[in-house]
């Protein structure tokens, strides 16, 4: 068991041009309203309130960058901004992580 991190990663720069993916310790459960994500290491539960956000999260690892994954939704700029902010939140709680060369 990994301990809960002492403080969450600061919600600062989320790099849209890096490759991202769902953390391997995270289970994704679709729901009518969006999805539930459970991280077995941190024991945190995240609730995604938008089906489009679920689509972005689950397709992150198919794209070379988060930016590309967002663009693929066809959403307008304002919605993409909201989705990007949500991705930053998910990154700060370790629900999504940057893909390294080895894991890509």
């Amino acid at each position: 068991m990994t301990a809960v991190p002492e403080s969450p990663a600061v919600l600062d720069r989320f790099d849209l041009d890096r490759a991202w993916g769902v953390h391997p310790s995270v289970a994704v459960r679709p729901e009518p309203f969006g999805a539930l994500l459970y991280h077995f290491g941190t024991r945190r539960l995240s609730f995604l309130k938008d089906p489009t956000l679920l689509a972005v999260v689950t397709t992150l690892s198919d794209h070379p960058s988060a930016r590309a994954a967002l663009a693929a939704t066809g959403a307008d700029v304002a919605q993409q901004r909201r989705l990007a902010r949500a991705l930053a939140t998910l990154a700060s709680t370790d629900m999504i992580t940057e893909r390294t060369e080895a894991s890509s």
């Binding site: 068991m1 539960l45 309130k49 489009t52 959403a75």
Partner: protein
């Protein structure tokens, strides 16, 4: 595309989900202890316990439903001879496990095995920061057993296990000491609410927190924030001010439930009573059928109106408190919690006829002599006459008795 909604997580949860997020599974009513406040009135094994095969079928369902984790308890779950087999089966089938134990079987070898597993968490029960306070409630030697278990876990390198305490009038002055114990062993402290459930009803008057103690506890929890877990058991204290971390919502039948040792499904572990019985995993539709279609759960998933609490300004915060606490103190479910911080519960209790509160449907207590209102508890234990009277030695060869899995296999002939 879709504009974001402002709906809170709990607004969705109040209406229920297609599957629980997590749940409590009491594996056995057998226990080597006889804690005075036991919410499941445990002690003696029930001969109708689920077999290993039936238990695995439940795990298969939990996997299909994508239940994230199951909190295995009892009684003392580790006294089941198939305990490890079931834990391994659950984790192999993507269901996380946290098991609650008094520590009796947490040897150094067991601790090492647990430390090596990513998907098994342990919760050690302790109700006093000193042996004097703890053993008064949990029995002689129980403090030492818990300490030994925690030392073994720490030495095996298992950090972050849970130390879970039921807050009582007698231990609420030891909160800092509990935190120190948790810190010493690299554990996370968890404080939970005493409810008048199971044998808890017998000691409720003596042990539940006094109003000023509730406030002290609330202030202490606020000061410690997310460092200390609560199992969301103090949402009734949200009326004091800011809500504590957690959903602040009764999850019974909506996001959580209980599966008991004989496969009965209840709304929650604090409500083991036929009024809160939703069905059985042995029914044709299995656990999934009960979760989805039972009349009780559908009723709980209806929007709640607040009843007598509706006009109180704090209702949004406390939501009328705990269903089980109201039920077992004889209060109506659509009124205040017995420990309502505004004092409405105390007034309501004055109107309850003495002795009229519902009794638990089941009692698996050891057949020791018990005074109705124990102040000092003398525990005397008969030696087990059959495998139904559980002892930690069940499963080992005892001269004159069959070993093995006891009643479920028909081995004991009880």
């Amino acid at each position: 595309m879709t504009a974001p909604t402002a709906t809170r997580l709990i607004d969705h949860f109040k209406l229920g989900l297609d599957a629980p997020i997590c749940l409590t599974w009491e594996l056995t009513y057998a226990c080597n202890l006889s804690c005075v406040h036991c919410l499941s009135s445990s002690g003696r094994r029930d001969p109708r316990e689920l077999t290993t095969a039936e238990a695995k079928a439940v795990i298969d369902e939990l996997e299909r439903m994508q239940v994230f984790y199951v909190n295995i308890g009892g009684g003392e779950p580790t006294v089941r001879s198939d305990f490890w087999e079931l834990v391994d089966y659950a984790t192999a089938h993507k269901v996380g496990v946290k098991f609650s134990t008094n520590g009796v079987k947490i040897t150094p070898e067991v601790a090492a095995r647990l430390a090596a597993s990513d998907y098994v968490d342990v919760q050690i029960s302790l109700d006093g920061a000193t042996a004097e306070v703890n053993d008064h409630v949990r029995g002689p030697g129980s403090y030492a057993t818990a300490m030994r278990a925690m030392a073994n876990l720490k030495n095996a390198g298992f950090t972050g296990f849970k130390l879970s305490v039921v807050c009582t009038r007698q231990n609420v002055g030891q909160l800092d000491e509990f935190k120190a114990i948790a810190d010493t062993y690299g554990a996370q402290l968890r404080l939970t609410r005493l409810r008048p459930s199971g044998r808890g009803a017998d000691v409720w008057d003596e042990l539940h927190l006094l109003p000023h103690q509730q406030k002290e506890l609330y202030d202490w929890l606020v000061a410690h924030g997310e460092d200390v877990l609560t199992g969301d058991s103090f949402f009734h204290l949200a009326a004091f001010g800011d809500a504590l971390p957690g959903l602040n919502l009764c999850g019974a039948g909506r996001v959580v439930c209980l599966i008991d040792p004989v496969g009965d499904v209840y709304a929650c572990p604090f409500a083991i009573h036929e009024n809160f019985l939703a069905g059985s995993v042995r029914d044709a539709g299995g656990f999934h059928g009960v979760w989805r279609d039972s009349a009780l759960f559908q009723e709980l998933r209806q929007p709640q109106t607040g009843g007598a609490c509706r006009s109180c300004q704090h209702y949004d915060a406390c939501q009328g408190g705990c269903m089980a606490a109201k039920f077992f103190t004889g209060l109506p479910l659509d009124g205040p919690d017995p420990e309502c911080v505004q004092g409405y519960g105390e007034s309501a209790l004055a109107g309850v006829v003495a002795g009229s509160a519902p009794k638990p449907s089941l009692d698996h207590s050891h057949r020791t002599e018990r005074k109705p209102r124990p102040v000092t508890l003398t525990l005397s234990r008969r030696p087990p006459a059959s495998a139904c009277d559980e002892s930690p030695l069940a499963g080992f060869e005892v001269i004159g008795q069959p070993s093995g899995s006891g009643c479920a296999s028909g081995a004991c002939g009880c």
